[in-house]
Symmetry: C2
């Protein structure tokens, strides 16, 4: 199936262009021009009911009038004509229709109705649809230039081994043309549009057995169809074909734009981070990092969660230029390290340079010399403390690449990955590095971006459970005692609690000492504190009955029971939460407690479930937990117990319980060896 879909998508035997214009200056005039210009070898049928001919070729009045059923139809007709054309494709048995027009899901109820019709056609026939809002799909090998993107109006496009897939139609032109300027070619490019049928992940997956494709370059605006993207990423990892992605939405503003632009809903950016990482997709933050990053991914092994953190060594002929790479690397949390004393000694011996013990291995003092750079690289490649080498070459790279660029090329086949950044404009040297297979970068920012993304990439995981991806269908809560029962079943320690009827006259004997907390106990009150349903630090029986009365007054006559707990104190409070995200499924979150942590959005997210090593990584990522890690000689918290609690709560992703959301806030963290205690819990069912 996949292979025949791949053929229909990228190398169809015959294509029709519905709505092909006779005017090449119009968008709808481009596909035929580009197909002929490129020399597409298949049969081409322009469809235009109002003309006998277009661009000097016979035009057919309709798909039905063609001498055969075309394999792939590009519908470039206006929005109003799309449904009829696609319906005809379905009736005739066309394999794939790609739709250019917009005016669908992003255009309100009328557009949504149109999109629903397209879905019905797909369901009723064997037709697969790309788009709508697709600027097209291109294979530079078969010359199937099914695109209306103006940037494809040239003949000598370099063929490469990369497939580019983009939510933005304009970006396929940007990747193509910017790639060409760097000598980077593509096997194919696809603008996936609104993904009414074929999603970006499905299209990429269909090409995985293409021996001419080595890697994938993705431009993402949303995580719609995350399951398909994950499935593709998993299979791509098996096939050893790396995937690099740029995703819009670091800022709230950009996420809102994705909503208005594509009709998708905006998720949170750290959810996207967690999802892409879980899929083993390397996310970059710069356009140049996206374009230049794949060769590095091909050389950097995936990391193991909990494994030793990768370390980067930097060797250079210019301290200032190299520091431009170190700066963004360090800001992204990549460990740049000085060489070990024995490595430094070996470098000094091999180069004859009195290299200083510093983060940079700086060979500047003698100018750029082949022997010094080659000897230093040889030592660094053999040095076990480094997982990746960044080589930064100064002005000599422009006209004297034999000095300090050639030694990098001569290390191209080394087992350790090397990333090269050349400080001056040095196109010839960059081309030579590319030809030798050395990952190279035009800017320090792209170099750091790609190195950080490559080192952070892990093996993709399978999704937790398909059913867990359903959106929450109810807002049904468990009351707090029932929530504790669920947590206790997961092995999470909760504060001892007793339920009291609100009707009691005298305070009962409690199984724990005062002071205590009293809380309204109800499945109908998600925000107890805001409802006046919580009283803390109750010191005796009299205060208890008084508190009970106040709570009843605040919450109202519907309240039947309250819950009493001892006041639990510890070193710190954290929030551990589980929820099923609409796009990516079950998530587990750890955050520092308190309003400041909320303001700083200081939290760590992973797709659930997680193992202990991953839970420990999450603890490391939450900056506000520094106090629990012994910051300024504070007593250390029980981070083992905290990690176990994270793991336990994340198991909801693989249990039968239909939990949409579970939040422990706060979880009290005690001193090392003393465990943790949940003192409030909110559980929402699917």
């Amino acid at each position: 199936m996949s292979q025949s879909l791949r053929q229909s998508l990228f190398s169809p035997q015959s294509v029709a262009i519905v709505g092909q214009s006779d005017d090449v200056t119009k968008t709808a005039g481009r596909p035929l021009k580009f197909l002929r210009q490129a020399g597409f070898g298949g049969r081409i049928y322009p469809i235009n009911p109002r003309r006998q001919d277009v661009l000097g070729e016979r035009a057919y009045p309709s798909l039905t009038a063609l001498p055969e059923v075309p394999e792939h139809v590009y519908v470039v007709a206006p929005t109003e004509a799309v449904i009829e054309a696609v319906a005809e494709c379905g009736r005739l048995g066309v394999k794939v229709a790609t739709v250019l027009a917009d005016g669908f899901a992003e255009a309100g109820p009328v557009g949504e109705a149109r999109e629903a019709r397209l879905k019905e056609i797909c369901a009723a026939t064997h037709l697969r649809i790309i788009g709508p809002s697709s600027l097209g799909i291109v294979d530079l090998r078969s010359k199937a230039m099914l695109t209306a993107n103006a940037a494809f109006d040239e003949v000598d496009l370099p063929v490469g081994r990369i497939l580019a897939a983009s939510h933005s139609g304009s970006m396929i032109g940007a990747l193509l043309s910017r790639g060409k300027a760097r000598g980077i070619g593509f096997a194919g490019l696809v603008s996936v549009g609104n993904e009414v049928d074929l999603s970006l992940g499905e299209i990429c997956e269909a090409t995985l057995d293409d021996p001419g494709i080595d890697g994938y370059m993705l431009f993402l605006e949303t995580l719609r169809h995350a399951d398909a993207l994950r499935r593709f990423a998993q299979r791509a990892a098996v096939a050893n074909k790396p995937v690099i992605a740029y995703k819009l939405g670091r800022s709230q503003e950009a996420r809102e734009l994705a909503v208005s632009h594509t009709g998708a809903l905006a998720g949170e950016d750290d959810v996207a981070d967690a999802f892409l990482a879980d899929c083993g997709i390397a996310r970059v933050d710069t356009l140049d990092g996206l374009i230049e990053g794949l060769p590095l991914l091909q050389r950097v092994p995936r990391r193991t969660p909990g494994g030793r953190k990768a370390t980067v060594g930097v060797v250079t002929t210019t301290a200032g230029g190299a520091t431009m790479v170190v700066d963004p690397l360090a800001s992204r949390g990549v460990t740049v390290a000085a060489p070990a004393p024995e490595t430094l000694a070996r470098i000094r011996a091999a180069t004859g340079i009195d290299v200083k013990p510093a983060l940079l291995i700086d060979l500047t003092t003698t100018g750029a010399r082949y022997e010094a750079m080659k000897a230093a690289l040889d030592v660094l490649i053999a040095a076990s403390e480094f997982d990746l080498i960044v080589a930064v070459v100064g002005s000599s790279a422009r006209f004297l690449p034999e000095r300090a660029v050639k030694p990098i090329i001569d290390c191209a086949s080394a087992a350790k990955p090397i990333a090269a950044y050349l400080v001056p404009e040095a196109p010839a040297a960059l081309a030579a590095l590319s030809a030798a297979g050395v990952p190279n970068f035009r800017t320090p920012e792209a170099c750091a971006d790609a190195v950080a993304a490559a080192l952070g990439r892990r093996a993709p995981r399978a999704a937790a459970s398909a059913k867990k991806h359903e959106a929450p269908s109810s807002a049904r809560l468990l009351d707090e005692l029932a929530a504790y029962e669920l947590l206790e079943r997961l092995g999470i320690a909760c504060a001892p609690s007793v339920a009291l009827d609100v009707g009691i006259k005298d305070a009962p004997v409690l199984p724990f000492p005062y002071p205590v907390a009293v809380k309204a106990l109800s499945a109908d009150i998600p925000h107890k504190t805001e409802a006046g349903g919580v009283e803390l630090n109750i010191r005796d029986g009299n205060e208890l009955t008084a508190a009970l009365a106040r709570i009843c007054k605040n919450v109202g006559p519907s309240l039947a029971r309250v819950m009493v707990q001892p006041m639990v104190t510890g070193l710190s409070e954290v929030l551990v939460g589980y929820r099923v995200d609409r796009d990516v499924g079950p998530l587990i979150m750890l955050a520092a407690g308190g309003v400041l942590a909320e303001i700083y959005r200081d939290r760590s997210l992973r797709l659930a479930p997680v193992d202990l090593a991953t839970a420990r990584e999450m603890i490391d990522e939450v900056r506000g937990l520094a106090a629990l890690k012994g910051y300024r000689n504070r007593p250390a918290g029980d981070l083992d117990a905290l990690a176990q609690t994270i793991v336990a709560l994340s198991q909801l992703a693989v249990m039968d319980d239909a939990v949409a959301e579970a939040e422990i806030n706060p979880l009290i963290v005690h001193a090392r060896g003393q465990g943790v205690t949940a003192v409030d819990a909110l559980v929402r069912l699917l």
Copy 2:
């Protein structure tokens, strides 16, 4: 003076190259080659005592042997020969010596001694020195190619109107060659090296009356000689010549490298931010932003502290491509806004496109059309809600620039600045934009970087006071009562306090009610809490005498007095601090209270003194103070009083008091109208 210095630096009548090699493959072989290759019109004297001729020209044995005293000498001899050569320059009356060799301040005591010798020579003669560690100084108009940087080995270097000055010698080659690839030329470039005599700021200042220089591009590794940089920046602002700077050191790692590399000391990055902003220098974060940003600075007016925040409107033919700019703009705190309803209506009427009300003015639906883009730009230029327009053009920019790039060019003379980002590779369109004077960018990151830097630029201020820049010479503290007296003189409300002799037997009658705090009162204990010298929440006289005894025991027999204060509570605690920074002088800081704020480094810094508008900006910048601004319906704090306190403490910068550091921690912020109270203060004298 300045003009003759400028001539000696950039267009000397005669030059000598001390240590000129006969071998052009060596660094010391380059200067003569480059001078001849460029066609330098002045007299050139190679000096090489071991040869009769070098590169086919007569070589002189020494400076003394020359037929005249050369105006500018480039010393490219090895480190050991530098002092003698420079001393000879001084004796002969040479105006400027530029020194290539390293091995000075960065090389330990021997190097420091060499540097001291250079300073002595300058002090004893009229010689000015660039370097050591200078890769040279170049004027592309006079063809004075006094450089050993390998990237200058070409003839057709475009002459422009920019002066580039760099702490890194390699970077002058990077700026030159990368500029050339973009059609950006330079008037001159200088590698300032260790700045033993002439600093980067002084060299730039010497060129301010050069009518061929319109702007300055700086690559900074340290803020050494900040006074000279500020003086230059102030005078540059008067001359209306913008200054753009890239400064290494966003990360701690990079700051440490600057230490080891240049022998300078590392400051903190937000100090550099505050200093450059105070000087009206636009700081960028990307190499491309540095190279491409000056034309935008030339068009964006400087902002007024406390004035309306600038707003950016984005118009585009590609939503995805434009969002790539919005994302980093928003992440940098730039306000990107949707058009006002009336502006939107005007755009719809003028373009005939049903543009949606969103952050982007998205003209995609009809494809790229001249009329639509031009009409939209005209409306946006007239719309009062926007201070700057970003125009993003998609694939049409590559081969059809007449569609959506031409309209931008046709708006080049509009009063409102426009920044253009072209999504595909489109060199011809970029060149056309540059020729028309439209600021344009190759990457979305550089575009956002330059826009943010330009909009954040203010008018430079004069330094507070020269004497305040002295490094703290003592560690003398005021005791806390004396510190309060100082604060009260500044108009800052402090908690009422009484001093008690440690010898008292009974608790005295206090002028304020219990509970109180008791603290050791001494100018010798900077960290009272850590010394066991603080007791809080003392509830009565008995507890007071007991607390006093414990404090005496903890602190020891040297303690003579304690201080008693009422316990003051409020909405929140903040830290307000003043200190004299070694590099940049007096600073005022505001931070949220507590360990979390410390961990998050959540603070705002300015050079002192500040006015009320600036103090309010500082309050806005500290995220952790959100709670005081009404976050989630919390009661608002007295931000007016807080702002006044910041202003008051910052006045230390212009007062006679020799204060090196003053910290109020905590300052209690009460509810609106209730003021603020200092409850602890530390003052350290110069």
